[in-house]
Subunit: 319 residues, 2 copies
């Protein structure tokens, strides 16, 4: 898996040079701040598992296609950081703190559009369609999340619709695009889509579980969801476990965004002590099982093994 | 020309319903606030001039394709209004003042992506490529403009590069896409591209001339470019006409953004009295001539007449 990183990063570097010059610095800043490159990796693996043709420049085209997913991901991060006024991204100063909001918004637009142009260059309108729809769904998921902020009565289905949009759609698209590149049948594309979407759901649920982890153990600030008013599964389960009186206090503070830093840390500690993060990981496991089932009928081999390993990685992720 | 508007607006309405639901209100707000629909109209005219096949659903596909250009235009307006913190757009409250910055940014992203998906549905990666590149160039042009703000030494070529990016690229794309839809030869696509780009340049130069017009005559506030520090042709010519002492005062105030409202109104009045807006319109005429030359060898007929009328409309535009 890690062996692919230098190749992905080199292809990304080439693609960034194709951005119109004025948009390059802020875009490069974000893309090069790091990241796991999960989306391009998934696209590559799915294409290879289906025996994508890598001769006659096919290998380069595949890397370029895979990297469009990282470009789209980086574009959404740039816009999100402006929206959330976040200072840090991947441990580095967020692009808008260095280049200003205007440039971050516009460079995000340019990154997204150049990614669309690169997908178009692959010569398949099916790829263009999957990519464009995933982008629209991602933005829509974030709008849903925004409307749900500080809503202490958020239904589980609403939460799932939010994370399906903001996280799972793009991971599904990464897998589908790899399969389409390899000229897969509609059935195969659907199987990879199911794998990707379920993986994305699990990924986000584990991410939300990690937000109540011990900040010292995982090495980054936690409790953000409680502070910002996002009723993720750990907070939902915690709220359900409270007495009516305690719940009223929780609802009030959650709705007003009035938790002190001490209360945030204390609540996260109590959630862990109650074993709620374990329950949440079990919820993620359901999606990981779905993902596994979707690909078990595919050709055995090292690429399939890596797709299965990714499920274990998501399940066991501790930071 | 006006006869097409209801058809364009109906197709736009259908397309807006294809946006993911959470992004619809803010997007609809912007698209439905009005506008001349110049870009879709150009796409339609160019396609028809080349005898695009409108049978078997072709007519509907053409309207949908044409409307993607208005969607892209609206998306850039939504982002621009967040960036400029503008209160009004097309005489209505700007989307971000009603829905907030976050929703305006995200709905812009969804609008842009859905437009990309609609282009992809036309089944031509050439269309996808032209559309995506025009979007990237538009964002890049705006970044250039941003870097040039309050620069009193802006070279003419830099100004032209800015307006080519922020305005002319998309109008060029509208014409090229109409031609591609009609299965035009590369030569014909290039001719329409030349027409569109030159028309776009002229359009923006006239727009910049109108910014020094009498606010009472044209019925909207003027002088924005002087206030914001954009060295457009009227301001460039005005600055060149000043004595060294006067120019030093101008440079100082322009760089610091320190003109009072009275000075702005007074400067615009003096620019008009000096006949500078006439000089600027002559500059636009050069581009209009280029646009005319590019299409004169095309088949005569009512569609060609409308493309020529549009040149006259841009030249004579008084508001």
């Amino acid at each position: 898996m890690a062996l692919e990183l230098p190749f992905i990063n080199r292809a990304l570097d080439h693609l960034l040079q194709e951005l119109p010059a004025p948009s390059r610095p802020a875009a490069r800043h974000t893309v090069e701040a790091g990241g796991k490159r999960l989306r391009p990796l998934l696209c590559l693996l799915c294409a290879r598992l289906l025996g994508a043709d890598e001769s006659n420049g096919g290998r380069e085209r595949l890397y370029r296609l895979a990297c469009t997913l990282e470009m789209l991901h980086a574009a959404t991060l740039m816009h999100d950081d402006v929206i959330d006024n976040a200072d840090l991204r991947r441990g580095q100063p967020a692009a808008h703190t260095v280049y200003g909001n205007t440039e971050a918004i516009l460079a995000g637009d340019a990154l997204l559009s150049t990614a669309n142009a690169c997908v178009a260059a692959c010569g398949s309108t099916k790829l263009c369609d999957v990519f464009a729809r995933a982008t629209a769904e991602t933005a829509a998921g974030e709008i849903l999340e925004l409307h749900a902020l500080r809503n202490c009565n958020l239904a589980s289905e609403e939460y799932l619709a939010i994370i399906r949009g903001k996280t799972a759609c793009l991971i599904r698209a990464a897998c589908e695009m790899g399969a389409i590149f390899a000229n897969a049948s509609d059935e195969q594309v659907a199987a990879f889509g199911t794998y990707g979407e379920a993986l994305g759901m699990a990924f986000q649920i584990v991410d939300d579980a990690l937000d109540v982890a011990d900040a010292e153990v995982i090495g980054k600030p936690t409790g953000g969801d409680l502070r910002e008013g996002k009723l993720t599964p750990p907070l939902q389960l915690w709220r359900a476990s409270l007495s009516p009186e305690e719940r009223e206090v929780f609802n009030d503070k959650f709705t007003r965004g009035a938790f002190t830093e001490e209360e945030v840390a204390d609540t996260c500690k109590k959630i862990r002590a109650a074993g709620i993060d374990t329950q949440v990981r079990a919820m993620a496991q359901g999606y990981l099982d779905t993902a596994k089932d979707a690909i078990m009928s595919l050709p055995k081999g090292s690429d399939l093994d890596v797709l299965l390993e990714i499920l274990t990685y998501v399940r066991d992720r501790r930071k």
